[in-house]
């Protein structure tokens, strides 16, 4: 006797899944964040080094560096920067979809330590003497050239140093040299020689001091364009980095490259997954159809989990996903092979289905637990991309386990219980001649 109700339930459940997938897929696909290898952008791994002798790079220094970097990125207007501390002296910065990479890079790693020195490079004032948020781009009243104005904390200190400079002998050494990111070994006198040779000097400017100045306002007049002066003012306001940043790894991807890689890999995915589906349909017939259903749900589930976890999809991530489909098929194959074996031993469709499910469960369980165990260790001990990879592996094994085992029980179960498939082992891809008599 055929139970049509089971078939009806099958299609109702199927429709529910189809509706869920149909209604949410667009949101998931559009909402999933793409890595910079898929949408263009850049990533830099900085090694954090102390600026001054005796300074130690501690967790606090790293945290305040990250803060300073964050406020600088706000200057750039990038929406979702990723800045992470790695190990005990590294910071990884990922900026996806930056339009001007050169500017971004410069802006990030500039230490932005402003110093005022004499002609012998002795420090007279540094960033700690500046008032916070006091930098501003303005114009020089006479020439209308763009300049940067600063506010000092202490006017008397400025009077002291201008007096010191004024009293320098011989004539012509009464200059206040303003440097941005003075590096050890830089020398004003060398730079002056360069300047005479027509090269741009490393210091910003070196005005002559002709009187003692008791004031808080100081202006820097350099060879600025308006944009340069603005960006200098913003960097100074965002605050100097407490440390020096050395790039030890960097990668930048052009937007078009990313787009192309995404298109190609998604196309490859469609081909690969379609081929797997075709293979399952030919080899396993009705269970093959069920496998296509559970695998579709599997792909949906993975994307949904990724979306909910706020994960960033990268190129290797997509590759892992496509490959994961190949592996997720395994649980289906184990179950269907087992059912086929039971059918060949002469059991009825219903009891072969039950025995096949029961017996394949421990196999799938042990095989998957071992893989998860390996992945968990990789996750716990691995760093950065090894960790990310392990996480994808764990998610896909779990999702495959759930969809293959329970999906098969539910969907194939309804068909088997409907009794429509009774005495038709061909529907499972089993030849009548292979069936042994009980």
């Amino acid at each position: 006797m055929v139970k049509r109700s089971k078939i009806v339930i099958f299609f109702v459940v199927l429709l529910m899944f189809a509706a869920l997938i149909g209604l949410t897929t667009e949101k998931i696909v559009k909402g999933t964040k793409l890595g910079l290898d898929l949408q263009g952008g850049f990533e830099v791994l900085y090694e954090v080094k102390p600026v001054k002798k005796g300074q130690k790079v501690t967790e606090d220094t790293l945290k305040s560096t990250v803060e300073a970097l964050n406020s600088r990125i706000n200057v750039l207007g990038v929406s979702e920067p990723e800045i992470q501390i790695e190990g005990d002296n590294r910071i990884r910065v990922q900026l996806a979809g930056v339009s001007d990479q050169n500017k971004a890079r410069e802006l990030l790693s500039t230490q932005a330590e402003l110093t005022f020195r004499d002609v012998d490079d002795k420090v007279l004032l540094d960033g700690s003497d500046l008032k916070g948020n006091g930098a501003k781009q303005t114009f020089e009243p006479n020439s209308n050239k763009p300049i940067v104005s600063l506010k000092l904390k202490d006017a008397d200190k400025f009077a002291e140093i201008t007096e010191e400079i004024l009293n320098r002998q011989p004539q012509g050494e009464n200059r206040l040299v303003i440097w941005l990111d003075y590096e050890k070994g830089d020398s004003f006198k060398e730079e002056v020689k360069k300047e005479m040779g027509g090269k741009e000097p490393k210091y910003i400017s070196a005005p002559y001091v002709n009187e003692v100045l008791t004031q808080e306002d100081v202006t820097i007049t350099g060879q600025f364009s308006v944009e340069e002066a603005q960006s200098l003012a913003k960097i100074l306001n965002a605050g100097a980095l407490p440390v020096k940043l050395d790039e030890i790894y960097s990668t930048s991807v052009g937007a078009k490259f990313g787009e192309k890689a995404l298109d190609e890999t998604i196309f490859a995915g469609f081909i690969g997954i379609a081929a797997i589906f075709l293979f399952m349909l030919i080899f396993y017939r009705v269970p093959g159809i069920i496998a296509v259903l559970t695998l579709t749900i599997y792909i949906y589930l993975i994307l949904a989990i990724f979306y909910l976890m706020n994960g960033v999809l990268t190129l290797p991530g997509i590759a892992a996903l496509i490959l994961g489909v190949g592996m997720a098929v395994d649980a289906n194959i184990i179950t269907y092979e087992r059912i086929k074996e039971e059918l060949k031993s002469g059991k009825s469709v219903l009891s072969a289905f039950k025995a096949g499910n029961r017996r394949s469960f421990t196999t799938i369980f042990d095989a998957n637990i071992t893989t998860i165990l390996a992945a968990a260790v990789l996750f716990a001990y691995g760093t950065s991309s090894v960790k990310g990879f392990a996480l994808v592996l764990i998610i896909s094994v779990l999702a495959s386990f759930i969809t293959a085992v329970f999906g098969t029980r539910l969907f194939l179960g309804l068909w088997v219980q409907s009794r429509l498939m009774d005495k038709k082992p061909g529907l499972f891809g089993v030849k009548e001649s292979d069936i042994r008599e009980l």
Partner: protein, 302 residues
């Protein structure tokens, strides 16, 4: 299936094949080593996308006009892409210069990667240590759920597969980059899964009857391999389908990843059919022999 190949009888042949391949791999690794990509060597890589056909000479000229000396230039795509490698790390200023230059010239800024060797090496070292710790974990779990000899055999097969990918990459002079590590890790996960399915069947068949002789043991191993053979082949086929699709249609940057996967899948399937169970057979029959040699004192009633 009317298929009666004896998987156990020829075990020494498989062991010899694997031993020879392993030895060859060790020799290659010790002599010419791996061709390390810039992820492991200090260096820089620039990918240019042009809106016109390129030649090697033209690309080199372009870089020389910027004062840069490329180490190698490889054209890709429809000869409108170039992958250019540099020894040493390009400075921020140099990258800025070439970004601007090529953006003006071809309307598309290039992709630039620079790396100091420490980062890549640390990752590789970290992955290696993680795999070794994972192996210990697997041994403990399998020993607990199955038995010791199976744990040892499964992990040997796993390390065999992972090593083979590395060896083949050394022999074929393929470039090793960071996605390569991900591929090796994928195979570690896949290989253990594959082996456990066969062992699970052996465990089940062992429960059904009393195994007293080596002949009986061989028969069980053979039967278990045969019963899981369709599954082993079908599973590896579906994963291979996915990997081949990635290799042919996927982005350039994951090509080596796909090749590494294919090699690993092939060895993974090979080792779970021809190595793991045979290894277990050898360990198990030794165990049986040593038990037989001292039954008198342990069972006083005889």
């Amino acid at each position: 299936m009317s298929f009666n190949y004896d998987f156990v009888k020829n075990r020494n042949l498989y062991f010899i094949i694997s031993a020879l391949l392993t030895a060859a791999g060790i020799i290659f690794l010790l002599t010419i080593g791996l061709k390390l990509g810039i992820d492991f060597e200090s260096g820089s890589r620039v990918n240019i996308q042009a809106n016109e056909t390129l030649t090697n000479e033209r690309v080199e000229e372009e870089f020389k006009s910027l004062g840069l000396e490329p180490e190698s230039v490889v054209l890709a795509g429809n000869n409108d892409q170039a992958n250019v490698a540099f020894k040493g790390v390009l400075s921020k200023e140099e990258i800025a210069k070439l970004n601007t230059h090529f953006e003006e010239k071809y309307g598309e800024s290039p992709s630039v990667s620079t790396v100091t060797p420490t980062v890549g090496r640390e990752l590789a070292q970290n992955a290696l240590i993680a795999v070794l710790i994972a192996s210990v974990g697997i041994i403990i779990y399998v020993a607990f759920r199955f038995e010791w000899s199976m744990a040892i055999s499964a992990v040997t097969a796993l390390l065999h597969d992972a090593f083979m990918i590395i060896a083949v990459f050394s022999i074929l002079r393929l470039e090793v980059d960071l996605p390569f590590i991900a591929a090796v890790l994928t195979i570690v996960g896949y290989s253990i899964n594959d082996t456990i399915v066969t062992f699970d069947r052996i465990r089940e068949n062992m429960k059904l009857e009393k195994v007293k002789t080596q002949e009986k043991l061989a028969e069980i191993v053979n039967r278990s391999i045969r019963e899981t053979l369709t599954r082993s082949i079908n599973t590896v086929l579906t994963v291979i389908i996915a990997a081949v699709a990635l290799l042919i249609f996927g982005a350039d940057s994951i090509r080596n990843f796909s090749i590494a996967l294919l090699i690993g899948l092939a060895f993974g399937a090979y080792s779970s059919i021809f190595i793991a169970s045979q290894l277990w057979y050898v360990l198990k029959s030794r165990q049986m022999k040593s038990k037989k040699s001292r039954p008198v004192e342990s069972e006083p009633e005889i």
